[in-house]
Symmetry: D3
Subunit: 173 residues, 6 copies
């Protein structure tokens, strides 16, 4: 069975006993790398205004979630056991609230000059920003949910640049 993605790197890095390990990246080339990931918070439509106005009970949700996402990107190798530490050189977090759909799309872009990609950093940043929004609105909506966590674009590294279009149903593949 061939489970490789078209364009994926060869299945190297497998240990003989199959045990989990942090793979060897010491021979990889240091290049400029960037990744953008998203997460989508889904709540009741009438909550979106409270988020964007900064009037949720705990305060200005977007400002807090932005900081949480940036700090979350830096914490990635502490959270994801087999992730390599990386010298992050840029993080941005953007929000696209949709008061009709009752959603906030969170976009996280991370850049590094390093030997591995920054997809996990971008995904962690978007996820933690979304969890922070959840925390701030859970007093008014205990059934909010988070979905659509995926990588939208990647550049740099051996596997080439690519991007996908976030669709309105983008939270599912």
């Amino acid at each position: 069975m061939n489970v490789q993605d078209p364009g994926a790197p060869a299945l190297s890095h497998v240990r003989e006993d199959g045990s989990a390990h942090m793979v060897d990246v010491s021979a990889k080339t240091e290049t400029s790398r960037q990744a953008t990931a998203q997460a989508v918070l889904r709540t009741r439509p009438e909550i979106i205004g409270l988020i964007t106005d900064g009037t949720l009970p705990k305060g200005d949700a977007l400002a807090v979630a932005r900081v949480a996402g940036i700090m979350g990107a830096k914490k990635t190798p502490e959270l994801i056991p087999l992730c390599h530490p990386l010298p992050i050189s840029k993080v941005t977090i953007d929000f696209e609230p949709d008061a009709v759909a009752g959603t906030v799309r969170i976009l996280a872009t991370v850049k590094t000059r390093g030997v591995t990609g920054v997809e996990m950093e971008a995904l962690s940043a978007a996820s933690i920003a979304a969890l922070t929004l959840y925390d701030m609105l859970k007093a008014v909506d205990k059934h909010a949910s988070i979905g659509g966590i995926l990588v939208l674009a990647k550049s740099g590294g051996k596997s080439g640049d690519w991007s996908i279009e976030p669709s309105t149903e983008g939270e599912n593949r």
Copy 2:
């Protein structure tokens, strides 16, 4: 406009200037509290066997994700800025792989004896376990996604016990 969820606590805790803050929970009663949250990883169906057999390039994905989720629960107050630190007394992480749908449902249950609920701890645990699975399979599927992050059940605390049924489309509300 009334944005409160039926059964939600009154909108206290708003500061006059609306600034973000960690709300005062010192007057809340210490009780036994539990929450279960889920996250759903979505990949290509043929990858599911590699996850459950422990044959992904980086090793045994479920064991690593389980540890990451448990440690993630403990890291919640470091990740979510306005979360209160809590003495966690139990964490379990379970996986429900579905090789037909190409999904792995992650269930995280967290228990405490404390003054606030543990929904955020359960959500963080499930999310970080899911991100860890993503990290371990991204060499073979760069278009995996994570969704369906929500609280399934909660007990203890003033707001009462409740639970919802995870549906097969559970990743969206």
Copy 3:
């Protein structure tokens, strides 16, 4: 020589060999405790508007500093070697900018129900919020400074409640 502050607790806790240690607080009573501390950032007067308008190059300085201060309070026992971990139950950070003096006073209030006071948590929160402001304005003022870090008020615990008046020259005793 009597170096004790009037009202200070007796000099217990000294080890025979004088070695540093985390003192035993297991016999202390758990009570509600609160402390307020301040730090004062000093910059050029024309910078104050950039801080309060959120127009510094790196973005909205007060929102970022507020989150940093709250998270800093939670990190106190990781930063201060002999500090006891405490279940923080409330943190607020307030800013008093003075565009004439070229200062921003930062007020941090921390509350707990525990066996030790929260002065260090309040001081750490104020200091880290001030350092964050410094970081955000250093591109426009490399000679900013931080001073006036002290405890303004304390309640709860054996040593009794007290407070002092922050004066305009409050950064020096």
Copy 4:
């Protein structure tokens, strides 16, 4: 209004919406960089001997504060949200106690070979060492204070080398 410091870098890095972000440093040149910062602890004169003799109730204050300062330098990107992680290559902490004035000046020097300066690392190291001294003497002086936190010298990087003279009133600009 021109708020730029003479010699400060141009006001780049502003995002269109003014939102907080970790600025892009991937194009900056990696050079050897060093910074020295100070903090000044102010207490009652008779306490200074207890600090320098290592006879405070909690033990040898200078040794503990030195370690806290060094570890604090390494924690800087975890504390200051928009700080870039840096491979620190040297940290020293020195103390200048003055038993007449009742002060201890803390000098922290940090060095790196990296793309950004290490002012924040030096400031964090000095501040956390000062907070640690405060923690160790607060049993005998609850009105101690910390001030004079500023950068004394910087070398390396595009903005050029500079230093200022710490004066006896150095804690204020």
Copy 5:
């Protein structure tokens, strides 16, 4: 086969699928608990004087190792995946250097008022203090080793109080 230690708690806490988890301690009684653990650093005899005099190249080894051990006790639940977080109420680290044998015995005592024992905290404290000594002397002895890490005494909790005698060959059972 009966693998239980005489006096060990019954083998509860096993999950049906045998998966790793943080066991439920919410029903355990909160009592005062204490544990003492040791670690033994072994180097060349002539190095011991450098350790006790504080004249190793990197500086005063015992003071640095003491602080590292105390902070290490607080980090235990971050290091040991299935450890419960605990409100540590006391930590002491003592050193017993033996210039004839070329050893330094490290004794760590940790106390809490909580629902689980503090053996892991005491073991982590002793181990990290020993690793710190190793780090400080490795420039002069690259073949140092650490052994004899075990619990010497425990009190509080359901399993009763006990202690063992550290022997000169105490590093092996």
Copy 6:
């Protein structure tokens, strides 16, 4: 007295006042460096099967200890005060259980491309993996111990490559 190990680097890095500091490594050459360290857990022989079968009360001990060791390697500069942060490029953890002797040897290999060696990272990884095993079996053996923590091999850097043979009594020098 000459306390230097044959082949050890010259005793540089001593500060005039002998104070502890993180030594300056900015002039050292960045090369590929690797180190392997071991730790040996000693328990009762009949426990070894429970470890290797994954049937200890808390679950699959080897999988959990492996993840703890890998994450411990990354945490080294947070634990060991004077350690420099390093971009780790590979970590593996292997276990050699011996059901006759009642031991599990843990081997940790860490690789970097950096300016300092990774002995401390390998030692921390092996130690934390061993402490994690201890935590998982302490319900069935409260007198387990850990020893034999030492560096087995090192390559890269100025001091040259070397290795030693782990003997069955390898836990003591």
